[in-house]
Symmetry: C2
Subunit: 174 residues, 2 copies
């Protein structure tokens, strides 16, 4: 598939509700478990998604669309959620994500980006020149990647409970 | 985590709604794309989940709980959905899945399984003796594995659209 802003919206708009459906009413054991030392729990991942909404997708889009000479993005902080999520419940985070995602998509819609604008460039601090279209396509794959990650983190909690089925459930072996 | 029937229910009960949230209102391009020859689309995966409800979890549970001398499960047909889903829409399949899952969980609740029953054994046609508890734990990881698979199949459609971010979005490289 080629990137298409309407089709990308179909995914981006649904992610808050997907996370609500997947994660509402879960016991703390499901929410706070992870895959081992220095890996993220579901709670950490939702906090990370919020931080992306606040500092990544739209702020970087704004840099690309700006008239600044230097269009280098701010480096992204992969650990910000550990501080920002303190004292909050998963329900708080899911609502915060729903709200900021909705605002960001509303903003993006109003921009009504042209193909020319989608091809404008910015500079990623690690790997250099990228286009606005690449940034926006990444937003979609990033959502889907973290939905898959959350599913994997939770599935792995039963890795020792499934007996010989371990070999058949490939997500347990990644 | 050790397998616990109440905590397992928390996941199993939500899967139909998670799939509805993730997949409703998507263009056909998202629904029917796959990862290449002999791989499954989202449409195929939802059909497979229905076939599991009909022929795997509860039928195998019933074999384990039965008084039959031979408790060998019927081999599972991994390709049944290609025939069974013909002529149906994804919305049809999602509703069919919601209904059969609801019936199966209701049945399981009414059984009110004891720890002793959870440790009863059946025979898997490929890898031999398994316990009811292992079968039921596998049901949970199987749901989560296919939610992750659906996310991955859709994410990969933008693999060539994200430019250098490919390296950062690990789901695109699995």
């Amino acid at each position: 598939m080629n990137y298409n802003i309407d089709k990308a919206f179909e995914i981006l708009e649904q992610t808050p509700q997907t996370l609500l459906s997947l994660l509402s009413n879960l016991s703390d054991e499901w929410i706070f478990c992870n895959e081992g030392k220095d890996t993220w729990s579901t709670f950490d991942i939702v906090g990370h998604l919020i931080h992306c909404e606040n500092t990544d997708w739209i702020p970087r889009l704004n840099i690309i669309l700006s008239n600044h000479e230097d269009k280098t993005f701010e480096p992204f902080d992969r650990f910000a959620q550990f501080e920002n999520s303190k004292g909050k419940s998963l329900a708080n985070l899911l609502e915060e994500f729903r709200q900021i995602r909705s605002e960001n998509l509303e903003y993006l819609k109003l921009l009504d980006l042209s193909e020319k604008e989608l091809n404008l460039k910015g500079v990623h601090p690690t790997f250099g020149t990228v286009s606005l279209k690449e940034l926006l396509a990444t937003w979609v794959t990033h959502d889907l990647g973290h939905i898959a990650q959350i599913s994997r983190v939770m599935a792995k909690q039963y890795k020792n409970e499934v007996g010989p089925w371990t070999a058949f459930i490939s997500i347990l072996n990644t």
